[in-house]
Structures are given as structure tokens and as C-alpha cells.
């Protein structure tokens, strides 16, 4: 690990997100949103060159595309991945997506549809989108830019859009084997589902964050991974790649106030 301390929280989260794809093999890496997409791109350019990626439209590229206006950069396409083909990939299970749900519960069930009562919701969000199909067919990770009890809800999410480890939701004969929820990267920590009966654990804490603070901002009890430590800092090489992939600093607008990666002690 480098001793580099000059990085932002967004950059720390990009590196943490990139770790989600380690060891997945030849799957389509879909990072939806700026930080997950930069995470997937970083993974491909460092320890996971075997990953498949798109240009965020409909073509496969072997070299990740920088975000925003591209200047001189001309994408080199290696294949095609229209929405129709994405479904074929999803249903065939060769994908690991990272998306940002509106709510997540202790079972890993996710919600992107509505907050509040379904018939007359407090807030209509996007709709379930591809969550039911993604979650039951391939590997998924989540991204939470603002770790709070509003996201990590007590009880179940208001509208179960993505499946999770809630036994009450699974009827006999339904195939649960393809469900694989890996990581949650938040602005406070990295979580996984590797506790007893897939209980959520804190796997690493971002610099300056305590387990108690994470617990306080989470609507259900958390476990600590035995190897719980600090989220690895970005190396100089990783930062160089991130800055090249995001020349317009879109990542700087992802976390409120664009705070430094190492939180100032109060």
C-alpha cells in the first residue's frame, strides 16, 4: 500500500468498488453511475483485464472509455452489446453489476421503485428496472453514496425490487443458486454478506470512520468481519488511472462536498 494521503473519498470508493470484480473471470462488468463505472474500469485496467465492458451504450470495448466529452480519445470497439443482448447476458448469468438502490435491507433485498406505500407512495423513484432479473440471475454489488438509515432500512425495503436472502420470499422449487450478492461500497465502509446465514458484515472502514458510527447509521444490526480493517488507500498508480478515466472530474460531484479520503479528526 502506498503512503499516499492526497486522495478524495470518491477516489477511495472507486478503488473499493473495483475490488468487487476481483476474481470474477470473463463476465460483463456493469458499473452503473460514475463511481461504480470508474471502479469497473479500474479493475479491468489493473487486476482483471479479462472483464468485458461496454462503452455505456451498445458496444463492447477492451479499453475502458473515459467519462464525459472524449477529446481526442476514439473508442475501439470489440463487439456489440445492445439492450437485447444485455438481457441474454443477464439471463445467462455472465455479469456482475454494481448499482445504487434507493433502499437495502438486512437480507440484501433492494428497492428502486417507490418509497412509502405502494399505492400512494411518498416518492416514486425509477421503477424496478432490471433488479428482479439481475438479482436472481447473476452477481450483484451495490453502491451507496450516503450511508444512512434511509438507505439501510429497518425491516424489509418498501418494495422488494431485487431479491435477497429472505427465506420467506422463496417458495419451494424456486432456484436460488444463481443469486450472488457480493459487496456494498458506501461513503463510510465496505460491507459483505459473509456472516452466518448471509448476515451483513462490515468488511472495512474508511479512514477515520468507526464501526459504531456505521452501526448508528444502519437500520439493522451489523457484524464485524474478523479481519475488519481500514479500506485500502488508492495507490499512486490507481489514482493516475482514475484521473485519466475521469478527465472532467465527474467523480468530484458524486459525494456531497467532495471530502478528502482521510477524514479530518474532530
Amino acid at each position: 500500500m502506498s503512503n499516499n494521503t492526497d486522495f478524495t473519498l470518491a477516489e477511495l470508493m472507486i478503488v473499493a468498488a473495483s475490488e468487487a470484480w476481483r476474481g470474477d473471470g470473463e463476465v460483463l462488468a456493469s458499473g452503473i453511475g460514475v463511481i461504480p463505472r470508474l471502479g469497473a474500469s479500474l479493475a479491468k485496467l489493473t487486476y482483471a483485464p479479462e472483464l468485458l465492458m461496454t462503452d455505456s451504450e451498445c458496444f463492447l470495448v477492451e479499453e475502458p472509455i473515459p467519462l464525459g466529452p472524449r477529446g481526442d480519445f476514439v473508442p475501439k470497439y470489440s463487439g456489440y452489446m445492445s439492450f437485447e443482448r444485455v438481457f441474454e447476458c443477464v439471463w445467462g448469468g455472465r455479469r456482475h453489476a454494481m448499482i445504487g438502490p434507493t433502499q437495502i435491507d438486512r437480507f440484501g433485498q433492494t428497492n428502486l421503485s417507490v418509497v412509502g406505500d405502494y399505492k400512494k407512495p411518498k416518492a416514486a423513484i425509477l421503477g424496478v428496472r432490471g433488479l428482479p432479473g439481475n438479482s436472481i440471475n447473476h452477481i450483484n454489488s451495490f453502491f451507496v453514496p450516503n450511508h444512512s438509515k434511509r438507505v439501510f432500512v429497518e425491516g424489509e425495503v418498501d418494495m422488494v425490487s431485487g431479491v435477497g436472502f429472505n427465506p420467506a420470499r422463496w417458495e419451494p422449487g424456486m432456484k436460488q443458486d444463481f443469486m450472488d450478492i457480493r459487496r456494498i461500497v458506501t461513503d463510510l465502509c465496505v460491507l459483505d454478506f459473509e456472516g452466518p446465514e448471509h448476515a451483513i458484515r462490515v468488511r472495512s472502514l474508511h479512514p477515520g470512520v468507526s464501526f459504531d458510527e456505521v452501526q448508528e447509521k444502519t437500520g439493522f444490526p451489523l457484524l464485524q468481519a474478523p479481519e475488519l480493517g481500514e479500506t485500502p488507500h488508492p495507490t499512486a498508480a490507481q489514482l493516475e488511472i482514475i484521473r485519466r478515466l475521469d478527465p472532467h472530474d465527474l467523480r468530484g460531484a458524486q459525494i456531497k462536498g467532495n471530502p478528502p479520503g482521510i477524514r479530518a479528526t474532530a
Binding site: D55, S56, E57, C58, F59, I65, L67, G68, P69, R70, S82, F83, E84, F87, V90, W91, Q109, S113, V114, Y118, K119, K120, P121, K122, A123, A124, I125, L126, G127, V128, R129, G130, L131, P132, G133, S135, I136, N137, M159, V160, S161, G162, V163, N166, R169, W170, E171, P172, G173, M174, K175, Q176, F178
Partner: protein, 291 residues
């Protein structure tokens, strides 16, 4: 054979209570000129089947939608569709909210004239809980797996916008992603397309001909509608109109906002619409979004 007609001719084919499917995806290649014609008509109580963008939002705002069969509604760069949200939050919509993969699966079943297609998508979520008409089925083979039987989504009418069409009903989609227009067309009793350009007869190279994604026997009518996808994209020709979208989004927060939007952009007709948006020259050159 000449299938050329006007947007008004298309809307004259629509009846209250029909189930109408829309091509495109979110704010991309939506048949908006026809949507605006529907907004000007008194057709109502529609069941709208769409990968929702401003087509869904505007039809909701105008009170045309009885039921929505969808997986999402979004303007993409502006993630939340303002009028869908507003009407959805009022509790006024009947819904069949589906995984976006289930949506195309249902259209596929309709196009293939089978009552359902099996899938795992939707199981163990509230999609099945909230739509009790969705049934499961056990595999008749040794695995015995329990799957969702996605029912066919049969459409009365499909509305699709393409880059080029001819008078016979042949179509060409030149954007990178053809979305699911072929499934929308196949699921319907009648498909009407609007097109940026209409030719007498398409005469394509083999490379171009690959991007004819559904057969002309599905197409009942062809409308010449230049910039007919505005304010959504029509790649590779023009991108979405962010200025227009912002004005549209703002209307959802204003008192009487929908009526004001209608008065300004819709009621005066398509020629006035083009003038209001800087003319067809400007609209046809809006830059494509970069992701």
C-alpha cells in the same frame, strides 16, 4: 401499395381503452410526434406499455393513462421522470410493474402467439406479490423448477419511430441500439411507424438491410415526421433536447404547469412545435449525448 398517412390518421385508429405499446427506450427514439397527436385528441383510458420516457410522462400528465405496464420511467440524464412521478404519487395509476426483462419477454410471447414464456425474473420480489395475475409454473422435466409464467402482453397498437421508412412499410433503424421495436411491432394487431425520412421504396446495401428489424407485413401505416422523436434522441441524427427537457421538468412543479406546457408546445400543432424549439434545422442538429 401506399401506407403513407398522417399522425392524425394514426390517432383516428385509436379507441378509448386500447392497449398501446411504444418503441424506443427512456428518452430515446420515442414516437413523440404521434404522442403529441394523442395529447391533442380525446382518446382516453389507455393501457400504456413502454420502456418509459417522456411518452409515459406526458400521457400520464394529460390523464390519458388508465394502466401502465412498465419497468421504469426516466429521462436518463434527468433520472426521475417528473410527470410520471407526480401522477404515480397521486395514486391515480393502475400498474403492472415488471422487471424490464419480463417486459420484453411478455411481448415476445405475444408475437409468438404463446400464452406465456417461463423466466426466473420476478420471483421472490414484490413484482409477483403486487401482480397476483402473474402465475408460476413447475417445469415438466426432471428438474421440477418453479418458474414465473410471464403472460403474453398482447397490444392493440404499436407506435414506433424509425430513421427511414418507405411507403410499403419497410423500415431502417440507424442508431446503434435498435431497442425492442421489433417485439413491440410483433406483439400488436397494428403497428404504425413514424420516420425521419420516407422514401418511395428502400434500396439498401446488405449492410444497411441488416438494420431492418421487423417485417413490413406488421406495418399498417407510415408517417413522415422529421424530428418526430424530439425531445428524445434519434441517433445517429440528433440527440435529446436538454433545454426542452428542463422546461418540461419545470412544468411539473408549476401551478397549472401541464396546461401551460400543452398551450405552449402541443395544442398549436407540430409546425408550431418545431418553431417553438428553434426550427427543424436546430432540432435535427442537437448533439448526441456522450456517456
Amino acid at each position: 401499395m401506399n401506407k403513407l398517412m398522417t399522425t392524425a390518421d394514426v390517432v383516428a385508429q385509436l379507441r378509448d381503452g386500447m392497449t398501446i405499446g411504444f418503441g424506443g427506450w427512456g428518452p430515446r427514439r420515442k414516437p413523440m410526434a404521434i404522442v403529441r397527436e394523442i395529447l391533442r385528441s380525446d382518446v382516453k383510458d389507455l393501457t400504456v406499455v413502454s420502456y418509459g420516457g417522456p411518452d409515459v410522462g406526458m400521457l400520464c400528465a394529460a390523464g390519458k393513462v388508465k394502466k401502465l405496464i412498465f419497468g421504469f420511467a426516466t429521462l436518463d440524464a434527468i433520472p426521475l421522470e417528473p410527470w410520471y412521478r407526480k401522477v404515480r404519487e397521486s395514486g391515480a395509476l393502475e400498474l403492472m410493474e415488471l422487471d424490464e426483462g419480463m417486459w420484453q419477454w411478455g411481448l415476445r410471447a405475444a408475437g409468438m402467439r404463446v400464452p406465456f414464456l417461463p423466466t426466473r425474473c420476478g420471483l421472490a420480489t414484490d413484482v409477483t406479490k403486487l401482480n397476483p395475475e402473474l402465475k408460476t409454473i413447475q417445469s415438466p422435466y426432471a428438474d421440477g423448477e418453479v418458474l414465473l409464467a410471464m403472460p403474453a402482453l398482447k397490444l392493440d397498437v404499436a407506435l414506433v419511430h424509425v430513421n427511414v421508412a418507405d411507403r410499403l412499410g419497410n423500415t431502417l433503424i440507424q442508431g446503434g441500439d435498435p431497442y425492442f421495436d421489433h417485439l413491440v411491432a410483433r406483439a400488436a394487431d397494428a403497428c404504425y411507424v413514424s420516420a425521419e425520412r420516407v422514401e418511395e421504396r428502400l434500396a439498401l446495401t446488405p449492410e444497411q438491410a441488416r438494420f431492418n428489424t421487423f417485417e413490413r407485413y406488421l406495418v399498417k401505416g407510415v408517417v413522415h415526421a422529421p424530428c418526430g422523436a424530439h425531445p428524445t434522441t434519434c441517433a445517429p441524427e440528433y440527440g435529446w433536447d436538454m433545454g426542452h427537457f428542463k422546461r418540461y421538468v419545470a412544468s411539473a412543479a408549476e401551478e397549472g404547469g401541464w396546461q401551460a406546457y400543452m398551450d405552449e408546445f402541443v395544442t398549436p400543432g407540430e409546425a408550431a412545435y418545431q418553431d417553438k424549439n428553434g426550427g427543424i434545422e436546430r432540432m435535427g442538429k442537437l448533439p448526441l449525448p456522450v456517456f
